[in-house]
Symmetry: C2
Subunit: 499 residues, 2 copies
């Protein structure tokens, strides 16, 4: 095409609105990192006001005219322009179906619900959060209906929101296949006589952990001149490549927690920083979806960060940082602790093998919440039953049961599946990389990560949202998305360690 005036106007408006969105995201980041305890109500009002503005700007009538004009003449357009138009159309069509009042009410509810959840989780009292969750679920269904989804497919809408093109049925199928292979593998590992000891870490001062994780994240390529890392209750990564905000948390008796959570968040950060920065705010500068995003964080955390090569390089640095604390811990013990597999109730503390069960659990419950088969008031019991059935253990209380995660308190339904899909994509991408560079792990042992990062930049990051999750996976790996890569990877990594 003709990058004509209308197209330029469209992009310029999308990019201006994107600046409002990252302002909104900064307020959310600040809410988790800095907000004084008594300032929640004010922040809720700020977020509501800003979300209403963003919605209004996103539904300007001239968008309809521009899109119509551009679509009419788009036959000869490049795939890039077509992607920009397609995403702009999708977002516009959805946004205009929501009322400003709805958007503002939802932002207010989410902010209130977040604080109610944090309080409920602290006190172990589900009743403090349940009324908020009830309202959020209702609004989530209302949102799906407004956008045009039938009552039966409301959950599809929320999955599609995070990963365009995916449906609950697709997730159901792929999770079933995964489960079939995964359960016996987990059985084999946890029944093994090999029992890594993760309680060997004691007294690792925060300063050392902080120094080390900055060294590692910088070495793998995170650019701290346009990003930072702070502390929050739950680690996350927000912002975009122009200003990437990661968080972690420190436990002096568990240095692997801050370390791996920050390698994970760095993976997210590397993806954001690798997206074409000049296209921020359009499909060309946006992540493909949540599953694709998670594939990048998982790949760095697991395929790279738990590999033998990686630790050949970093173990000496770790020992230099904590000479006394590691004096009585052997290399073997350390590496096994890094690759420990245990059945535990908390998702974020779980290993990469059993992690997938935690996601399947949440997916099953979300499906039932949306179908009406499960009432919000019955969630704690349903969670515990499902945990017993799927993971094989029963949480002792709601704080380590259905209140453990923040997602629902932010109104994010249909988000959890992307974590497990991300694991699958990560493994599949990993084997694609190994086909090109069979010796890639040798790089890690030398502290070199550029060859991997450049490959990901070129083949994955630079594509933005030109394709949807399934298309991009196919393009990058040459295969359809399936659990095969993940199962193969888990077997190759864990069976030798646990035999």
């Amino acid at each position: 095409m003709k990058l004509n005036k209308t197209y330029r106007n469209l992009v310029s408006e999308l990019q201006r609105i994107d600046c409002l969105k990252t302002a909104f995201e900064l307020l959310e980041w600040d809410e988790q990192v800095n907000l004084p305890p008594g300032s929640g109500e004010r922040r809720a009002r700020e977020l509501a006001a800003l979300s209403e503005i963003i919605h209004r700007e996103s539904t300007q009538e001239r968008f309809a005219d521009w899109l119509e004009e551009l679509e009419a003449g788009s036959n000869g357009d490049s795939i890039e322009c077509q992607a920009v138009l397609r995403e702009a159309r999708r977002n516009y069509d959805r946004a205009v179906k929501l009322s400003p009042e709805f958007v503002s009410r939802q932002a207010t509810l989410n902010s209130h619900a977040y604080h109610a959840w944090a309080d409920a989780r602290k006190k172990g009292d589900y009743a403090l959060f349940a009324p908020f969750l009830q309202k959020q679920l209702e609004m989530a269904k209302e949102e799906a209906a407004m956008v045009g989804y039938s009552e039966e497919s409301a959950y599809d809408y929320h999955i599609d929101k995070h990963d365009p093109g995916l449906t609950a049925a697709f997730v159901d199928d792929i999770f079933s296949s995964l489960k079939t292979e995964l359960l016996p593998l987990i059985r084999q590992i946890v029944d093994s006589p090999v029992k890594p000891d993760t309680s060997i870490f004691k007294g690792f001062p925060r300063e050392g952990q902080e120094k080390l994780l900055k060294q590692i994240s910088e070495k793998i390529g995170f650019d701290y001149t346009r990003g930072r890392i702070d502390t929050s209750v739950h680690p996350f990564c927000s912002g975009n490549g122009a200003d990437t905000r990661m968080t972690t948390r420190y436990d002096i008796n568990n240095p692997l927690n801050s370390l791996f959570s920050s390698i994970h968040e760095s993976g997210h950060g590397l993806y954001e920083q690798g997206l074409p920065q000049e296209h921020l705010g359009t499909a060309l500068g946006e992540a493909v979806g949540m599953a694709g995003h998670e594939s990048q964080s998982r790949l760095w955390e697991n395929q790279v960060g738990r590999s033998r090569g990686f630790w050949d390089y970093w173990e000496p640095v770790l020992r230099e940082t904590f000479p006394d604390q590691l004096a009585n811990i052997s290399s073997g013990e350390l590496f096994m602790a890094i690759n420990a597999v245990n059945l535990i109730p908390i998702r974020v503390d779980s290993d990469e093998v059993t992690y997938n069960l935690h996601i399947i659990l949440r997916f099953e419950l979300e499906k039932k919440l949306f179908s009406g088969e499960l009432a919000v008031k019955d969630l704690p019991e349903a969670w515990n039953d499902a945990s017993q059935e799927i993971i094989g253990l029963r949480p002792r209380n709601v704080s380590e049961g259905c209140l453990q995660d923040t997602h629902w308190s932010g109104g994010a339904f249909g988000y959890f599946p992307s974590y497990c899909l991300g694991n699958m994509i990560a493994a599949q991408v990993w084997y694609a990389v190994k086909e090109v560079f069979p010796d890639i792990e040798e790089d890690f042992a030398k502290g070199e990560f550029g060859r991997l990062l450049n490959w990901l930049r070129e083949n994955f990051h630079s594509k933005g949202r030109q394709y949807n999750t399934l298309e991009l996976t196919r393009k990058v790996t040459g295969r359809e998305l399936s659990p095969d890569g993940l199962i193969r990877y888990l077997k190759e990594r864990y069976l030798p360690l646990y035999s």
Copy 2:
């Protein structure tokens, strides 16, 4: 009145827009406290986008209708309602005269200029900042003209912007009177054989300073459940009483710096937290102006914080926090260091006596920049000459000369005078308090600050912007604003110490 529907609509809209304004302020706070060095350009775009939105929301046509309707029937209104209408009218009338394009361009320029200034100051290279300052001055004049001020009174507009009702001529008069009294007083002090030694402080770890300043600010009444303190290059206070963000900076060889800057910022914070919170966003919940704001920070920093009583209470705590560092420093030496008067080139490091000269210097230069008598390119030399003449010393370089302050880089002209006016108001308020509570300093020696704070809350903070600066000063102190209180206070505090 009739708190009728139109009035409620007006207030509700003002409060919604105020939420957007504090979102904007948070982005600015974050820019100074957290922003990665390479993210400045993105933040500039975010601020520009948001400022344009705020401007657009503030100039909605229905405001005109609402104001007209309410003004027509406002004769029987309470003074509170009248104040809300008056301020809403003033802000609306000014806002509609500025174009959205102008507002966005100005926000972009300010953000760029801030980074250019920081760079220029660091490198001691005025040429890096001069082109930005030139543009900012031009925009400041353009703004005054758009709002309806004549070319000759452009500087009046900027003074009035910070302190409604004040003019350059008024400031000129009052500064002249002050100077006449102040210069011989300073001569007397600096010629005194008493020479406090401020270089006695060595090796005060940041952690101790942080702990201490939190203790002090909390004790004088700052509410940390709706506020926090962080670190920035220049200490400041932003946000409002719902979420008050103070900053300070630490120097291990100058613990008084973080201490007094944080007592100062706490004074600002106490004012914000003392404004009627239910009226945030209207004249009833807004500070009277910058001079009034500064009077509150100055009163706590100086009249309270440098008093004998205050240190009778805090000296033991200070010694407990830093036993070794203070072992060889006597009480007398400590108190004199706290009340040291020295002629130095840097405003923010100067004492409360000579500080006023730094402001007079800036006022003189701003006047000339606005009248055209002084060209931006000649500023460094003019600054040095004026410093020589007014303060009696010549800065060695631009970093300790005309680049020392951040204000102009943010486009804030006419702001500096409020600092000195604030000193005058603080002293005048102080004597008003002493008339009611002659024994107030005895409270401080017991670590009690509630009687003073409550008096300020009732007589000053709770009034919001119902009156302008001069009116409020008259109401609170029973006198017209004059330099008399400040001169009396400085004489009473410093002459006994320096004779």
